[in-house]
Symmetry: C2
Subunit: 328 residues, 2 copies
């Protein structure tokens, strides 16, 4: 494992008691001078590391910037997700990067973050605003042994993971809007874009893209988005620690994806339904040029939305744009 | 349009009456000397073009090798498929090439042939034998406005197109084996591999890979494949004209894909069923580690196979390996 991952993990575990230079040198199998050089390098990246004669090295503060090594150091031996994490300062779209790497054999669970994206995408080819350093824009490579018709399970688990992580790292209470938006106070703070490379009867790989508006100031959203989009910081009234939130999302994703791999997905689906603000509401849904109005009654096992129309028919909706009516 | 496409098309249309150098020069908007140079170049590629003082140029014979310009010349203004055709002498896999080009904006209907593939693939990651110059190995980029669950329609139309083209260009009577094999005399002569790049509710693009064993000698198949695979030449007892067969397949694909795009797919599905030797037969199907035995009764509208098991239940099979029992 990369020495910076080991040093940062040791420093975080040691906390205020500090980690001795000798101990770190032994852990890494290098000299104390070499440890000093790595620490200097981390300091240049914005890590405030105190060197005390009595306590050794103490990590006092981390930058808000994303560092792959630090994120890997924070994760506790993930089973799938986060074993490899790369951070790009700028990309076209993290989904595109992961898709390209996937074809070159990138291992399952690898994660690519970008501090900003020039061509961030939402569903159906829409653009996604990704200003530098203000959000979490990342994509994860998965190679699930799934039939393509079960791929919705991946967006379901991603939505639950993002909602859980926001709850842990902020004072906010996020809701899920079918099929793949995370809302706070009825406005979108995060979205999920799943892209599949598949044959008819198996998923070859899936790229799970997640975008979270973390510290974008409310006034930075273009006027036409201000009533539909917001950020965690704008809602919470304080800046949110991005690396901590990123770690929390990845840890939850790893936990929930392990469930899926173990064939134990039922409870994840149940949690999704509890968190889903769409169920029980009157909705109108645009599916292509068609519009369907009714009450969102339930989800089926594939994650499709079952809508009871005004004529009493139950329609099964696999995708589309949902508009929630004000009446309950 | 490429001048070679225009020249070859004019020569084929003119047939034995020949096309005059002056006429070709006018068609191309170049000098007669320039036409002569292009003809010389085509001769170097194996085209036997006679230059007669009375009749002008007459195409007497074409090489069996595949040339993109010639294939485009043979197709009569396709609506979708074959507007751009490229031939590689050797590739890893034509599906991989088209997939890469798709992400760079290759237009729908573009076709990539390879004279041989080093990593030709069948379904489920299996290898596909693709010896140089003996088959047709090609992939087509499609951008159909389909929900992913209807993507089976693309393999259905491909199977019908291949079967029709074989019937037109050989004395053979091919059958379709569910889900995507073309058989002659109970042995496989062609296969179809559909790979999708999709989101949950739309296909972004589809790569339709087709492999046809045209002129492979029977004895060239490895022993373990000899009872399951054959070639058109081995069955017909004579070599088959590859460029003519390639043109026939592309023309049929264009016709059937236009049907799909026009929302008029019903008859294609009916023809598929008539040609499908799996229906009405006793089958055993391996789906992962599970095996299902019964009578293949019908297809549903998504192309799934409905199997009546020995216990009377009707199972819906979306993918798997079918073994046809000998009894009818």
């Amino acid at each position: 494992m990369n020495p910076d991952v080991l040093i940062l993990r040791a420093l975080r575990l040691a906390g205020h008691s500090g980690a001795s230079g000798a101990g770190l040198a032994k852990l890494l199998g290098v000299s104390r001078a070499a440890v000093w050089n790595r620490v200097e390098d981390l300091r240049r990246h914005g890590y405030e590391i105190e060197a005390s004669p009595h306590h050794g090295y103490i990590l006092r503060n981390s930058p808000d910037a994303l560092h792959g090594d630090d994120l890997m150091a924070r994760l506790q031996e993930p089973r799938f997700i986060g074993r490899d994490i790369r951070v790009f300062s700028q990309t076209s779209s993290t989904n595109d990067i992961v898709e390209k790497l996937a074809r070159d054999g990138l291992p399952e669970g690898s994660v690519v973050f970008a501090e900003s994206q020039s061509e961030g995408r939402g569903r159906l080819g829409r653009t996604w605003l990704s200003p530098a350093g203000m959000g979490l824009w990342f994509s994860i490579l998965l190679r699930p042994p799934l039939h393509p018709s079960f791929a919705t399970q991946l967006t379901i688990l991603a939505a639950v993971a993002v909602a859980r992580a926001i709850e842990r790292q902020t004072p906010l209470r996020p809701e899920i809007k079918w099929p793949n938006d995370i809302l706070v106070g009825h406005r979108k703070v995060a979205g999920i874009l799943l892209e599949l490379a598949s044959e008819l009867d198996r998923v070859r790989h899936a790229v799970l893209g997640i975008g979270i508006d973390v510290n974008i100031p409310a006034e930075s959203f273009p006027p036409h988005l201000q009533h539909v989009a917001t950020s965690l910081a704008a809602e919470a009234g304080c800046p949110i620690d991005r690396p901590a939130l990123a770690t929390a999302v990845l840890a939850e994703l790893d936990r929930l994806y392990s469930r899926l791999r173990d064939g134990d997905f039922h409870e994840v689906g149940d949690e999704w339904m509890r968190r889903c603000s769409t169920l029980g509401r009157h909705v109108s849904i645009s599916v292509g040029s068609r519009s369907i109005t009714g009450r969102a009654e339930a989800l089926d096992e594939d994650g499709a939305l079952l809508v009871r129309t005004e004529h009493g028919a139950l329609e099964r909706i696999v995708g589309g744009d949902v508009h929630l009516d004000r009446r309950p």
